[in-house]
């Protein structure tokens, strides 16, 4: 899997290959090295016999000659705890490695070959798990006699089933993933698939289990030695030390504290190492993992003017900025977005992934992810009693109160948005029960009525179904019914048809169109990447690119007379727009080169200029403002729309 630096870079082939240790591994590796080496290296230097007794000096406190004092037989505790570590560590490390190897192999084979191999591997592990560990230990000790080797076998047998089960589960999960299928499709032999493709991807849990096992083995060794089943006296081990010191615990607490501290330190250092190791081995672990975000959520100061919404408007977004804060540098995700949704009308927000369209919707609901905040601008929402709510100034409970009642949301994947363990109907009327005081019977009646309204056949039966019993289209209808049940002024629809089949998608679009034309219809903010869907539904369109609106206006104008090069390119890259072209005639679909810039890599000037076929020098310097083109309603943010046409 790993390519050595020598093969990657021929010029460095003759350099002595010094292992490069990851900075995050240096500290734990050093600690573990000390813990492992000290027991073997230090005692010869001390030159003290751990078994030499000096009965007269028993329980002597720490002194220069005996830094940790003497035990109940007058033996040097420092020497004993170090020599004892030899036995404890040998037993723990070897048994953890043996159980890990055997368990992982069994689990991996079982998961790869399934069938009989899978059955045997899980059942072997299960049978061993059924034995109480102490009983198992007694059995093995009876057969083999006490001693270090016996202990290693006992612990290996006790701990391998855990590895087998974990590896079996993880490997079964990974073996379904496309890249494992790809390896099989390439003709890789089972050994290669198991050890090169699957094993590295389940190494995380194995490493964690390894550290837990090593820790548990140290403790169990102590316990078994304490019972007299492990290391044979007078040879020291940590268990033996605890056993000896226990009788004099009140008189001499130090005797029991010393081996306990040794055990705790060792376990802690092993855990630290394995935790770091797991992070370092995962290529995503450190760079692409959880971003370091500022946990504090700065509040936007309330806009001084108490603005009110126009009579026909249910949502207005003014100059919205949303930003995140990575390692102290603020990064703007959304910049200067202005939007308006009218009652009974549909405003569509169109853009690709990462354009900021979903974040815009989340800010309306106050549902921005942790560490992402509204930093400027205003969001005004029509409340159910007609007042204007400034969403950006709300927090906590006030935000919860508007969700569902004043603004409701439907999502792309209706299966994940519905709770699988509750009946559809109960979820549907839950909101009504929370926000209004209605009786259960009345709520049920209303719920069934809502299901009927969104075109659900047999609504009474569906009301009592569980989500998994419904098809994707029906689930989305249920979601829409739920959203409408509180008669919100605003319906936020985030890619509600993307996960559906085309014929079902067409039905849902029909439903939304019918909804728009019904009495008391909400305004719809429709978020989509699909201009074809948007064309059916939207009255107004805003096209977003790299966090900004680049073109905005009435739907027919934006689609029919697009002025921004990005909007034009989007329209052009739809295969449906080119029915005269065909690959067999060596035609190519018009496409936009490159990829959208990431938020922290957005260039100065126009963010689209690197991919724009018409870019001129001014595009790199000045960021174009959204200005009116053609008419007052049609806005575009492009230098080329002024004066000369694109």
């Amino acid at each position: 899997m790993t390519i050595t630096s020598a093969s990657a870079n021929p010029s460095s082939a003759f350099r002595f290959p010094l292992p490069r240790i990851h900075p995050r591994l240096r500290l734990p590796l050093a600690i573990v090295a000390i813990v492992l080496v000290a027991p073997f290296a230090v005692p010869p230097l001390l030159g003290i016999d751990p078994n030499a007794m000096s009965v007269l000096e028993r329980f002597a406190g720490p002194s220069l000659a005996h830094p940790l004092g003497l035990d109940e037989f007058g033996r040097d505790r420092l020497a004993r705890v170090l020599i004892g570590a030899q036995a404890s560590l040998r037993v723990a490390v070897i048994s953890a490695l043996i159980s890990c190897t055997i368990g992982s192999l069994i689990g991996l084979f079982g998961a790869y070959f399934r069938g009989l191999a899978g059955f045997l591997s899980t059942k072997t592990a299960d049978v061993v798990l059924c034995f109480p560990p102490i009983l198992l230990a007694l059995l093995v000790v009876t057969l083999m006699g006490p001693g270090t080797t016996t202990l290693i076998w006992v612990l290996s047998i006790i701990y391998f089933p855990a590895f087998a089960r974990i590896v079996y589960l993880e490997a079964s999960r990974v073996s379904q993933l496309d890249y494992v299928v790809a390896a099989k499709a390439l003709g890789a032999r089972p050994r290669r698939v198991m050890f090169r493709t699957m094993l590295p991807n389940i190494s995380g849990p194995i490493i964690v289990q390894l550290s837990l096992t090593a820790a548990a083995a140290i403790v169990t060794e102590s316990g078994l030695s304490y019972l007299g089943l492990g290391v044979v006296p007078p040879d020291p081990s940590w268990g033996q030390m605890i056993r000896g010191a226990r009788a004099y615990m009140e008189r001499d607490p130090l005797g029991i504290i010393i081996p306990c501290v040794a055990i705790s330190l060792t376990i802690y250092s092993v855990n630290l190492l394995t935790d770091r190791l797991r992070d370092v081995l995962d290529p995503k672990g450190l760079s692409g993992g959880i971003p370091i975000l500022s946990p504090r959520r700065p509040k936007v100061q309330a806009a001084p003017q108490s603005a009110t919404l126009e009579a026909d408007t249910v949502l207005r977004i003014d100059h919205l900025d949303v930003a995140t804060n990575t390692n102290g540098t603020p990064i703007k995700l959304i910049e200067d977005v202005n939007l308006r949704v009218r009652r009974g009308r549909c405003t569509a927000l169109v853009g690709e992934s990462g354009s900021g369209k979903s974040l815009t919707a989340s800010s309306v609901m106050g549902l921005l992810p942790r560490g992402v905040n509204v930093t400027a601008g205003d969001i005004m929402l029509r409340s159910h009693n007609g007042e204007t709510i400034q969403v950006t100034t709300l927090s906590g409970e006030d935000l919860e109160a508007i969700r569902g009642r004043d603004a409701a949301m439907i999502f792309q994947e209706p299966m994940t948005a519905l709770n699988p363990v509750y009946r559809v109907g109960d979820q549907l009327i839950e909101a009504a029960k929370i926000h209004r005081s209605v009786s259960s019977a009345q709520a049920r009646e209303e719920g069934i009525e809502f299901l009927k309204r969104v075109g659900v056949n047999d609504p009474v039966r569906r009301f009592d179904s569980f989500p998994h019993m419904l098809s994707g289209g029906l689930r989305q209808r249920v979601m829409i019914a739920m959203a409408l049940s509180m008669q919100p002024g605003l319906l936020l629809a985030d890619e509600p048809t993307t996960a559906l089949d085309v014929t079902v998608q067409a039905e849902i679009i029909d439903l939304l169109i019918a909804l728009k034309n019904s009495a008391g219809a909400p305004g719809i903010l429709f978020i989509s990447h699909d201009l074809g869907v948007v064309a059916q539904l939207a009255d107004e369109i805003a096209v977003m690119y790299a966090g900004r609106v680049v073109e905005q206006g009435p739907a027919a104008t934006v689609l029919g007379n697009a002025r921004h090069p990005y909007t034009r390119a989007l329209l052009q890259s739809m295969p449906a727009a080119h029915e005269e072209l065909h690959a067999s005639r060596s035609d190519t679909l018009p496409s936009i080169g490159g990829t959208p810039p990431l938020p922290h890599e957005r260039p100065a000037g126009c963010a689209f200029r690197d991919r724009c076929p018409h870019a001129v020098s001014v595009c790199a310097e000045v960021r174009p403002d959204l200005t009116s083109v053609d008419g007052p309603d049609h806005l575009a943010a492009c230098h080329l729309t002024r004066g000369s046409a694109v």
Binding site: A185, A576, L581, G593
Partner: protein, 327 residues
């Protein structure tokens, strides 16, 4: 299209899941029923259908990643239906797969170099000093820069990852690629790039492609012929432009008319209800429960896939539907 050499011939393929043995034996859910088709050398066949139609299952069965219960698969004239995994291994080089999800299709623990080298190592291709130029050539073929070789998959965008997946498939110089929804997870502006790439690779290398997609307009552009699938049965086969512009089967017509379009054509065939469960498929024609033209006779016999015009077949007993005015 002129008479060409059939690289892949699939005959009466049937495949089901579940069922089990012994006491717990139950009716298996039949995902595919009697599916027959051919792919010519250098041909792109589009396989369209909705979720549950079994289109991905066909792709995996053709590659023998799933075992079919019945039917024959011939690749380059050789019957591979009963080959063991061991005997399949040399043939794996000839047939490759490209996946839908650009995130789960690449091993997150390997660099691009590792991913592509793995493919070459398995078949001992371009070893030693020939390796590096080949890796660069592969990246170049899919339009990626050579600096990307030592990066990990998570450092790439979806479109770039899909290109890496295509490079992996092309690395062993296959003669057939099963592309399972290769552009569905990509942004619109990136989709067109990847479609063009697949079309260009076909032109350059003569590879045959089984292009699986739910998006009829994508399939129409890239495919030479289209197969329309519904509930594990082939409904219609024909040249791409014709199936798209003048479908013969009511289901094809419904699919075409449901496509979201910029020019709002409101003439749509409305289907009622949902796709039936493959556990309990309707008798006779599987589409009849949702077909606006169904007759009582449709419930009786399973309609044959029959040739109704040169190169065009459909599985529908009715020839009297006027599709132009049907909606």
């Amino acid at each position: 299209m002129i008479e060409q050499y059939n690289l892949l011939e699939v005959e009466k393929l049937s495949l089901g899941f579940g069922g089990g043995n012994g006491l717990l034996r139950s009716q298996p859910a039949m995902i595919l029923r009697d599916v027959s088709f051919t792919i010519g050398q250098g041909e792109i066949i589009g396989l369209v259908g909705e979720s549950g139609s079994g289109k991905s299952t066909i792709g995996k069965a053709v590659l023998k990643l799933l075992k079919a219960q019945e039917g024959r698969i011939r690749f380059d004239g050789v019957d591979i239906s009963d080959l063991s995994e061991h005997d399949m291994r040399p043939l794996r080089r000839e047939m490759q797969i490209v996946f839908q999800d650009p995130y789960s299709s690449l091993d997150p623990r390997q660099t691009v170099r590792g991913i592509l080298s793995d493919a070459l190592d398995i078949h001992r291709l371009h070893t030693g000093t020939a390796r590096e130029p080949r890796l660069v050539e592969l990246l170049d073929m899919v339009g990626l820069r050579r600096e990307f070789l030592d990066r990990y998959p998570h450092e790439f965008s979806g479109g770039q990852r899909q290109r890496i997946g295509i490079a992996r498939a092309m690395s062993v110089e296959p003669r057939l690629i099963v592309a399972d929804e290769p552009v569905s997870a990509l942004d619109v502006s990136i989709q067109a790039q990847v479609i063009n790439l697949i079309a260009r690779l076909r032109d350059q290398t003569g590879v045959s492609v089984l292009f699986i997609s739910h998006d009829l307009s994508v399939v129409r552009f890239i495919s030479d012929r289209i197969i329309v699938l519904y509930l594990g049965k082939i409904m219609e086969v024909g040249p791409a432009d014709l199936v798209h512009h003048a479908p013969l089967h009511p289901y094809s017509k419904a699919l075409v008319s449901a496509e979201p379009r910029l020019d709002q054509k409101s003439s749509r065939i409305r289907l009622t209800g949902d796709i039936p469960s493959p556990l309990k498929p309707p008798s006779g024609c599987v589409f009849r429960t949702r077909c606006p033209f169904a007759l009582p006779a449709c419930a009786e016999g399973v309609p044959e896939l029959r040739e109704v015009a040169p190169g065009r077949s459909k599985a529908c007993i009715r020839d009297d539907i006027d599709m132009e005015t049907a909606a």
